[in-house]
């Protein structure tokens, strides 16, 4: 299988960073949801926190990597290299650019802001998240928000690329 230079970058953007972020969500979510002081021993709590700190920090880095590569490397190729023009050339496909790409390129940027904040909350509050239910729920809500925005961006990214690939 041969991949072009641009396809390699697409792979890093969508699969390594983007895919890594989305696939990590379930695991980190389970650890975060299970972070209840009453259910954990001292050792269990320390292990949960270690995984949570590693997981959220890694996801924040992945989110930044995805949007920076997407905006500054992939998007110029899409915009100036013919993929966008190809979509706009037909009324049957133009909404994939005017709606799909337009929404994706903006909503994706909410993910790194929210993911970085979640990583910071986990780092800052630590074990307090296990005892303060309201703080934990707020962190969970922000985490779900980061995933939701990234998932919408990933879905439209995959569909737009399928219809008009950047090659």
């Amino acid at each position: 299988m041969h991949l072009t230079y641009r396809e390699w970058w697409s792979l890093v953007h969508g699969f390594v960073f983007g895919g890594g972020f989305l696939l990590s969500f379930a695991g980190v979510m389970i650890v975060m949801y299970g972070l209840r002081r009453s259910d954990l021993t001292e050792k269990g709590l320390a292990q949960h926190l270690l995984w949570l700190r590693l997981g959220t920090a890694t996801m924040a880095v992945a989110a930044w990597g995805t949007v920076i590569l997407g905006t500054w490397v992939m998007y110029p190729w899409y915009r100036n290299g013919g993929a966008k023009a190809a979509l706009l050339s037909s009324s049957q496909t133009s909404n994939w650019d005017k709606f799909g790409m337009e929404w994706k390129q903006h909503i994706a940027w909410l993910a790194p802001f929210l993911a970085t904040t979640v990583a910071f909350l986990v780092l800052y509050f630590g074990a307090r998240l296990a005892t303060d239910r309201r703080l934990r729920l707020l962190t969970l809500a922000l985490f779900v928000g980061a995933f939701g925005t990234a998932a919408i961006a990933a879905l439209f990214g995959a569909l737009v690329t399928k219809i008009s690939p950047v090659v």
């Binding site: 915009r79 909410l110 802001f113 707020l138």
Partner: protein, 112 residues
Amino acid sequence: MDENTIDKPTGPAFASIIAAALAAATLGLLATLAEVFEGFGDWLAFSGRVGMLSGETIVAIAVYFLSWAGLAFLWRRSNPPLRLVAIITAALIVAGLLGTFPLFFRIFGVEE
């Protein structure tokens, strides 16, 4: 050391929450304004290759880190009410989501 016993002020952490929501709202506002006002959109094209998305995202990043730093300093010893922080955050994020939603532009007569 048991971290449960440490009662750090919530201010610096809540600052990061409000900052993320402010960045989202900024992105939404800039995306809408750039579509509605062509001249503003052109001004946001910090990079010719990327277009106005470059300015929109760079300004949003700046708002995120600067507002985080500013609020963290202001709230370094305080405990803002969680409920209020959650309400402000939700409102700003909804504004951001709305502003970045392409059908929203069309309300203002932006061409499809």
